[in-house]
Amino acid sequence: MTARNIEALPISVSHVTKTYGKVHALNDVSLEVKSGEFLTLLGPSGSGKTTLLMVLAGFTRPDSGSLKFGDREVIRLAPHLRDVGMTFQNYALFPHMTVAGNVSYPLKLRKVPKAEIAERVENALETVQLVGYGDRRITQLSGGQRQRVALARSIVFEPRILLMDEPLSALDKKLRDQMQIELRHLHEKLGMTTVYVTHDQREALTMSDRIAVVNHGRIMQLAAPRDLYEQPANRFVADFIGDSTFLPVHRQGKGVAFGDMPLKIAGSVPDAKDLQLMIRPERITLARDNNGESSNRFSAVAREVVYQGDSYLLQSELADGTLITMRGAVRGANLSVMPSVGDQVMLNLEPDDAVVIDGSED
């Protein structure tokens, strides 16, 4: 590894608003990205996450707001003067140039001496494991290789901020999983402040220091992956991350109850009108015995059982018709207890895994 560790810059977004007609693409968004942090903007398409990234890059002019890189106000700075690296969803490599031509492009613009250009291009290609590909044409490369060239091009001029717009979405799953880890390592090595856009929750959980869940042009929750998954701020965040089942619950005394069944929960109950119990499919299990005093038990009928190789999915119906999804482990012994459709099952939810959330959408 020869690339220097880059002195990263914090990003400060405050009160940025962008409307298209009546639609708020960004609705008074404020966000602090710490120096050297890997922050992911996660949201469905049309949520405003890409608009926010384009505002950071300077391609979208917001209606109002402030954007600072370090101490410097850049909201009105032209994109070519911002000095941030960026990778695009379909790479945006220049098809009429070679790999080296693409990677050296930002260096030539910065009037770097020729000998140094060659060296830095070589280093960048080494960083993305494409040594010896300099003379290749872009059309000769596979999707994964193009992705690496795009990455090399965006880091070769050592920007202190790196923006990535769904960089892995065009790759197949295996390559994507591998690149996620590689990007993570690269970030640790280079240390630039990174803002990453994706709609893939697993990708966001895998890579990020913090995740900002975006919807309707607003940030729903900004938290570390673990907090986001364990304690979603509202129904939207809980629903977007993971495939949970939600049961409406209400306050009963100090605790909460589902119907007339009091729930045993370890965490706190949010201060909200509409409360829901979030059941993650991998946190609920089949009860193995009948002494359920310390946990929550739901009696149900198996409606669908899907074998998926590494696990099985069980959809079972409560007496009131609610469907609960459970993901069960497939192991020698468990395989034999995989229920069949129509079986009576007893579902078990430990108090630690019984999370009550604010049931509002935003």
Partner: protein, 297 residues
């Protein structure tokens, strides 16, 4: 071998289906091939044959040696090239910015402007040429208005010479350049310009290092088309040239109409055809000729 024999199930039938399908496909293109043969290959072959007949009806190279010996012929070829080169250059200068303008417009507006480009394209060549004559002549609209508005005092000569010919020809050729250039521009991923900008290129620099190079194949295809069409152009130089612009096509006509010399006319036609083919051959070294037809991105 027993295994392969065992796998011959239905093989003969499938091979038969394959043959029948190919024959049917050929059957579909046969009418077109026949037409090309009758209206193109036979007449051109006939011209070729005629060009080698002398005035006395026997085999002779006199139709070709004449072109080399007589200065007037040489002048005609020079003039043809001069007009074609100038027209192509002017068409590029006017057409490229127009194509760029069209490519930047939102799609709906672009199609409105595209109709404006194509409308003259669908109007008769003769009508357009005479329309220019009406506009450009000494008592024409442009002179009348310019004098009325006080831009100049005396009528200016704008037609019946090379200038008039070029104005008319450039106008007629513009769509041929704009269409492939516009196509090339539209097929450029917009993110490329963003990427260039993000990497530090000013808009001007991004244009010259990324956008323009990527439009060259389309521009080249259009320019080639214009140049080749110009080489054989007749109506516009004949009407707007005022006898001062004599191109190969016009000499062919006069050879037949005034001198009834089919041999001389045919030889000119053959030379024009060969020149065109040489230019296309050279161009094909640099360019996928499919592009002219709008394909091959």
């Amino acid at each position: 071998m027993a295994a392969s024999l065992a796998n011959e199930t239905n093989a003969a039938g499938l091979r038969h289906d394959e043959r029948v399908e190919k024959l049917k496909l050929f059957g579909l293109s046969a009418p077109a091939l026949l037409i090309v043969f009758v209206v193109l290959v036979i007449p051109v072959g006939w011209l070729f044959y005629l060009s080698f007949l002398g005035a006395d009806g026997t085999f002779s190279l006199e139709n070709y040696t004449r072109m080399i010996d007589r200065k007037s012929y040489r002048r005609i070829f020079e003039m043809t090239f001069e007009v074609s080169v100038l027209t192509t250059a002017l068409t590029i200068l006017i057409g490229y910015p127009m194509a760029y303008f069209l490519a930047q417009l939102p799609n709906r507006l672009a199609s409105v402007f595209m109709i404006a480009v194509l409308l003259p394209f669908w109007t008769s060549l003769l009508v357009r040429t005479y329309a220019w004559l009406v506009l450009l002549q000494k008592q024409g609209l442009i002179n009348q208005w310019a004098i009325a508005l006080g831009f100049w005092d005396e009528p200016i000569k704008m037609v019946h010479d090379l200038n008039g010919t070029l104005i008319g020809m450039v106008h007629i050729m513009l769509p041929f350049l704009i269409l492939p250039t516009y196509g090339a521009m539209k097929s450029i991923d917009r993110d490329l310009m963003k990427a260039a900008s993000n990497l530090g290129a000013s808009p001007k620099h991004a244009f010259w290092t990324v956008f323009f190079p990527l439009t060259i194949p389309g521009l080249f295809a259009g320019a080639l088309m214009v140049f080749i069409l110009c080489l054989g152009f007749y109506v516009t130089p004949a009407v707007l040239g005022g006898g001062k612009v004599i191109m190969v096509s016009m000499k062919i006509v006069s050879n037949i109409e005034m001198f009834v010399n089919w041999g001389a006319a045919s030889a000119l036609g053959v030379v024009l055809l060969i020149m065109t083919m040489i230019i296309l051959w050279i161009a094909s070294k640099f360019l996928n000729l499919d592009r002219i037809a709008g394909g091959g991105h």
